[in-house]
């Protein structure tokens, strides 16, 4: 069954396009602190995480929510997953810039989870997500916290890899 929420080009589409454009320009303009490979790796992490969760809990058998104008998979849905890329990039970027260590990890992940929750709330209001099928929004909080914790681990795995490459004299 296809649920059609909306058929016009309106706020949800503009939100995706403007967010993607603005944040891509910001990635371009901001001083580069990662190598190209690392930057791509952090960007792709966000796209992967968004797709993983949406294609797990928003499809059968759970089918807890829908994305964008209708329940079928559209080009805008794909772009909405690409939109997660800059967020994971800037998560790693700010994490590195602030030299987060020890207990500050908890605060950093909490602040980012709240920020993500706020963005999700806006996305629901403008029709990017449709939770009519019974998805309680607070379920997203542990998902954000887990994903961001994994991103921190991913960051350190990449860092260790970079250091060991440097020690063995192999530069990427």
């Amino acid at each position: 069954m296809t649920v059609i929420y909306d058929t016009t080009f309106n706020w949800n589409e503009w939100f995706i396009i403007l967010t993607l454009l603005t944040m891509s320009v910001m990635i371009w303009v901001m001083p580069k602190i990662f190598s190209v490979t690392e930057g791509i790796a952090f960007f792709v992490f966000g796209v992967f995480a968004g797709m993983l969760f949406d294609h797990t809990i928003s499809v059968e058998p759970w089918d807890l929510y829908d994305v964008n104008d209708d329940s079928s998979y559209q080009v805008m849905d794909f772009l909405s997953y690409v939109m997660y890329g800059p967020f994971s990039y800037f998560f790693a970027y700010i994490y590195k810039r602030l030299h987060i260590q020890g207990f500050f990890h908890i605060g950093f992940i909490l602040v980012w989870s709240l920020f993500a929750f706020l963005l999700e709330w806006i996305a629901v209001k403008i029709g990017l997500f449709h939770f009519d099928k019974g998805y309680p929004m607070y379920w997203s909080i542990p998902i954000y916290m887990t994903t961001q914790s994994l991103l921190v681990i991913y960051y350190h795995v990449i860092r260790i890899q970079r250091l060991s490459n440097r020690q063995s004299g192999w530069n990427s």
């Binding site: 069954m1 296809t2 649920v3 059609i4 929420y5 909306d6 058929t7 009519d132 099928k133």
Partner: protein, 107 residues
């Protein structure tokens, strides 16, 4: 070897040719009442194939079916798809439409 290739080719042709299965197309217009759950299990990829488009807004449904009046909601349209679509049932009685679709599935 050659007869096997011909046999495989025939199987391919048969499997790609249009089926004679009955196909029903359903348009549900929600209006103010949320009736989504009641139709969720009625769509079917088996015979008869039942495709359901569930519209949240009357304006969007009118774009899909401009030739039909939707003065009252919720409203359900059930079509049988032959060469064009032929209206089988238009009703504002949700239970009636669900009974009709269940009958289709069991017949």
């Amino acid at each position: 070897m050659k007869p096997l290739i011909i046999l495989l080719f025939i199987i391919l042709l048969v499997s790609c040719s249009p089926t004679t299965e009955e196909r029903f197309y359903v348009v549900v217009v929600e209006g103010k009442e949320k009736i989504f759950d009641q139709f969720e299990d009625l769509a079917s990829v088996r015979n008869p194939i039942i495709e359901i488009d569930y519209f949240r807004k009357v304006e969007d449904a009118k774009e899909r079916l401009p030739e039909y009046e939707m003065e009252q909601t919720p409203v359900v349209f059930i079509f049988i798809m032959n060469e064009g679509k032929e209206l089988q049932l238009k009703t504002t009685d949700i239970d009636e439409s669900i009974r009709f679709l269940n009958q289709l599935k069991t017949s």
